[in-house]
Amino acid sequence: MEPIIIEGTAKTPSVRFDANAKIFEIKGRSIPENSVEFYKPLVDWLEQYKENPLEKTEVNIKLEYFNTSSSKCILDVFKKLEAIHKAKNEVQINWYYEEDDEDMLEAGEDYESIIRVPFKMIVTE
C-alpha cells in the first residue's frame, strides 16, 4: 500500500501512515477551519488498510494543539482503528502529552473511554 506522508503546517499536523515501515503517526498542530478536508484522505486510507493490516498497528498521536473541529475527525480516524482491532488485529494508540498539559491528557482519556482500542498515555519532557 502506498504510504501517506504529509508535511505539517502552522494549522495542520504532519502525518505518516506507512504500513511498509510500520509507522503510523500524527504530529503537531491540528487547528484548521476545515478539518474534514484534511482528515478525509487519512480515514479513506485506513479504510483500505483495514482489508489487509499488519499483525500489529501501533499509532503515535503527538498533538500539541487541536481544535474541536479536528476532535471529531480524530475520532473518525480512531473508529477506523477500532474496526481493525475488532477484526482480531492488534492495535495500540500511543497518546503523547506534555507533562503540564492536563487538557491534552484528558482529551486522550475522552477518546480512550469512547474507543475500544488499548491506549497508552505517554508523558513527554
Binding site: A10, K11, I31, E33, N34, S35, V36, Y65, N67, T68, S69, S71, K72, C73, L75, E98, D100, D101, D103, E106, D110, S113, I114
Partner: protein, 186 residues
C-alpha cells in the same frame, strides 16, 4: 450617533489590551491573530500551561466567529466583511480576557442563549460528559463547526460563559462573549 460595537469594550476595560481587531474573520486573519498572540504570550514570559489554555480558547473563539457569524445588517458601516467579527484580548491581574463580538439575527438568539445557559448550569463533570456526548454523537455541520466550541471553552477555562446581547435594530443584535482564562498558578 448610532450603535457602537465598541461600547461594551469601553464598559469592561480593566487590564491591558494586547490585541484588538474588528473586521472580516477569514483564515488569514485567524493565522495572524494566533501568531501575534502566541508571540506576545512567549514575550510576556507566561508559563506554558497558561499559554496553551489561552491559545486553545482563542482558536475556538475565532473559529466560532468564522463558522457561525450572521451577515452584517444592510445599514452597518462595514459592508465589505463577509464574516464580521470583533476581538479583544486583555491581560488582567489573574489571567486573560478574550472578548468576541458578532452580529446575530434575532431568530437565532434563543438557540444560542439556551446553549450557553445549559453549559452554565452544568458542573465541570457534566460539561466533560456533554463534550464527550457531542463528540461521539453529533456530526460536523455543513457550516463546518462541530458544535463543541462553547463547551470546550467552558471546559478548558473552568469558568461560566459570560455574555451579552445588545440590540442593534428590530432584526439584529450584537452578541458578546466574554471569556476569562485564569492563571491557575497565581
Amino acid at each position: 450617533m448610532g450603535f457602537d460595537v465598541e461600547s461594551y469594550l469601553s464598559e469592561h476595560s480593566n487590564g491591558d489590551v494586547i490585541l484588538y481587531y474588528k473586521g472580516n474573520i477569514d483564515s488569514d486573519v485567524i493565522n495572524h491573530v494566533l501568531d501575534t498572540v502566541e508571540d506576545k504570550l512567549v514575550a510576556g514570559n507566561e508559563h506554558p500551561k497558561l499559554r496553551k489554555k489561552v491559545y486553545n480558547v482563542l482558536v475556538e473563539s475565532l473559529q466560532n466567529l468564522y463558522h457561525h457569524v450572521d451577515r452584517v445588517p444592510g445599514d452597518f458601516e462595514d459592508q465589505s466583511s463577509e464574516r464580521y467579527g470583533l476581538l479583544q484580548i486583555r491581560k488582567i491581574e489573574d489571567g486573560y480576557k478574550i472578548i468576541t463580538g458578532n452580529f446575530i439575527r434575532k431568530d437565532n438568539i434563543e438557540r444560542l442563549e439556551e446553549k450557553i445557559k445549559r453549559i452554565n448550569r452544568s458542573s465541570q463533570e457534566e460539561i466533560k460528559e456533554l463534550y464527550k456526548f457531542i463528540l461521539n454523537h453529533q456530526r460536523i455541520t455543513n457550516k463546518g463547526g462541530g458544535g463543541l466550541g462553547l463547551v470546550d471553552i467552558a471546559r478548558k477555562t473552568g469558568n461560566k460563559l459570560e455574555y451579552a446581547f445588545r440590540e442593534y435594530n428590530s432584526d439584529y443584535s450584537f452578541f458578546y462573549l466574554d471569556i476569562h482564562v485564569n492563571d491557575n498558578e497565581k
